[in-house]
């Protein structure tokens, strides 16, 4: 067949007899080659950008790494920029707490909703839900922050915290050590709401790659839909689900404004979900104004950004590779 040969070397295609092209073949081919090169160069921009961001942050945070040891920075709990003390542990702990709670709260509804949409819902329900999720994903983070301050924080302060501490207060995790609702749990709830549409969308995409025949194989043996989901579909897409959750977690890790507005911003290591915390992104955002006025402060803040970047890069690379593998198979 001639088609594959043409496909691999399109430059040799010839105009059909009697239908002359406006440009000569060699000119067209030259244009094509130049364009290919320009295109290729532009494609390098994203790659260059990732490298540039990493290098810039590394270089700018180097000064503090020269004067403080890594151990000192990562295990130190005292944050006194004026005294030259930069202990990142409270901020790392804050980030960890808020993100963990957000992910824990988000995962069950995400799985259930995605399964519902893909396995149970009628097309009309799906068509309603998709724009809804779009909208939820499109709401700016500062608006989530406003909502959190108006609804979640008061709810935590007036209802959830008193109830929890009177029933489960003996568990340190649920002890209320401060009177406000600006807390880890408020941040976690906001994060959960923010990453829910994101995770649902990915899991839904993965579920679409599960062949209908596989469902029928299980249903045909007399399994219920739920048995089919838990025994067949879930194990089949587990790697994808984990990747989706990791991506959601990395979204949560970097989320700044919404969390900053509800989490209290107290540099301490939280011990209860009702404690205030101070995650890394909030640290950067709150202090950018003074960062140039104190020695090493800018390096410290940019180190915070660098740490964040490294964690998120790792998460993203692994999860995206897994997902590319799963979703790439679609339609082939």
């Amino acid at each position: 067949m001639a088609a594959p040969a043409l496909f691999s070397k399109p430059e040799q295609g010839r105009p059909q007899d009697g239908r002359p092209y406006k440009l000569s073949i060699s000119l067209r081919n030259r244009l094509n080659n130049i364009a290919a090169r320009v295109f290729w160069l532009i494609t390098l921009i994203p790659v260059g950008l990732v490298i540039a961001i990493t290098v810039a942050l590394a270089v700018r945070s180097a000064p503090i790494l020269q004067s403080h040891s890594l151990v000192e920075l990562f295990t130190g709990t005292v944050w006194k920029p004026f005294g030259g003390q930069f202990g990142f542990l409270p901020f790392i702990a804050g980030t960890f707490w808020v993100t963990t709670i957000g992910v824990i709260l988000a995962v069950p509804p995400c799985l259930l909703t995605a399964f519902y949409l893909s396995e149970y819902a009628r097309p009309i329900t799906r068509n309603i839900m998709k724009p809804l999720l779009d909208v939820l994903a499109a709401i700016p983070s500062v608006v989530y922050g406003v909502w959190g301050m108006l609804v979640i924080v008061p709810f935590v302060q007036k209802t959830f915290m008193p109830w929890m501490s009177s029933h489960f207060g003996f568990i340190p995790l649920f002890a209320s050590n401060q009177p406000t609702g600006f807390s880890v749990i408020s941040g976690g709830v906001i994060l959960a709401v923010m990453i829910i549409p994101f995770i649902i969308a990915i899991i839904y995409e993965i579920l679409k790659t599960v062949p209908q025949d596989l469902r029928e194989a299980s249903l045909g043996l007399g399994a219920t839909r739920w048995e089919t989901i838990t025994l067949v579909i879930f194990p089949k897409i587990l790697p994808g689900i984990i990747a989706a959750i990791v991506l959601g977690a990395s979204r949560a890790l970097g989320e700044t404004m919404a969390v900053l507005m509800v989490v209290g911003n107290v540099p301490q290591i939280p011990t209860s979900i009702f404690d205030a915390a101070y995650p890394l992104p909030a640290l950067i955002a709150n202090n950018y104004g003074e960062m140039m006025s104190i020695p090493l402060f800018d390096a410290a803040l940019l180190l915070a950004a660098f740490i964040l970047l490294l964690i998120i890069l790792t998460f993203n690379v692994i999860a995206t590779l897994v997902l590319q593998r799963i979703l790439g198979r679609r339609g082939k």
Binding site: D213, L214, R215, A217, L221, G222
Partner: protein
């Protein structure tokens, strides 16, 4: 002989298309009934109405009755999983579940809690793998993933898996169309040996396979049953012109 399945005034609509038109049939027990006809004639749809798979497709409407031992399987108080337990399906392409070979066979037994202990499950797994003619080939690697088998082996695994839930009826939707000739022969041989125990309904698009397997034949065209009856009669003395044309290979 009492019919095992009776289909009465069955109509299936998909959206605005009338897919099956006024189907009336009787399926006899312990025989192989072959449904044949040109592609798009509704034979697979008919098969899918028998185990209520048709309900999985959005926008289908089923009217009429399908009686299994006199009980309408579309009646509201009927449990669809029980219907599908009694009517096993062998699909066009083998579709192993994402688990080991042994777990595939045990899957149905476990969801229906048919066996009380592991020992029994293991025994049944061996039994049905033997019935499907696969035991010799896989006995030493029962815990390998089912996807590691060849397509032909996978189809026999699916047969074993279907038989393990002890159905009364086996549906086969062109069960050999994805297989090589030798594997097809394997499956056909199994179906012939199994027909004394089970009521078997096979959809096929190859006339030769129909002739090899059929005790009863249903010939469908454009959503209607044109002719149905014992294989001999339909193959050798077709009454309807359409059937004659089809058998002569005119379409």
């Amino acid at each position: 002989m009492q019919p095992h399945i009776q289909v009465k005034n069955l109509n299936v609509h998909y959206g605005r298309t009338h897919v099956l038109k006024d189907i009336n049939l009787e399926i006899l027990p312990q025989q192989i009934t072959v449904i044949m006809g040109p592609s798009g004639c509704g034979k697979t749809t008919l098969l899918k109405t028998l185990n209520r798979f048709i309900e999985l497709v959005d926008g289908t409407r089923v009217t009429g009755q399908i009686l299994l031992d006199g009980q309408d399987i579309y009646s509201n108080d009927v449990d669809v999983t029980e219907v599908r337990k009694r009517i096993g399906l062998l699909a066009q392409r083998p579709q192993p579940l994402p688990m080991s070979i042994a777990a595939n066979v045990a899957y149905g037994m476990q969801i229906h809690r048919m066996k009380s202990n592991r020992q029994e499950v293991r025994k049944s797994v061996q039994h049905y793998l033997e019935v499907a003619g696969l035991w010799e080939e896989v006995s030493h690697r029962l815990n390998d993933p089912a996807t590691s088998l060849s397509t032909g082996q996978q189809q026999r695994l699916c047969l074993a898996r279907g038989l393990a839930i002890e159905p009364e009826i086996i549906l086969g939707d062109e069960p050999t169309s994805a297989l090589d000739p030798i594997s097809s022969q394997h499956i056909e041989k199994r179906l012939l040996t199994l027909k004394d125990t089970y009521t078997t309904i096979i959809v096929t698009h190859t006339l030769r396979q129909a002739k090899r397997l059929a005790d009863q034949v249903i010939f469908m065209y454009l959503g209607e049953v044109i002719e149905a009856g014992p294989a001999d009669a339909v193959f050798n003395h077709p009454k309807v012109e359409r059937t004659q044309q089809y058998l002569a290979g005119l379409f």
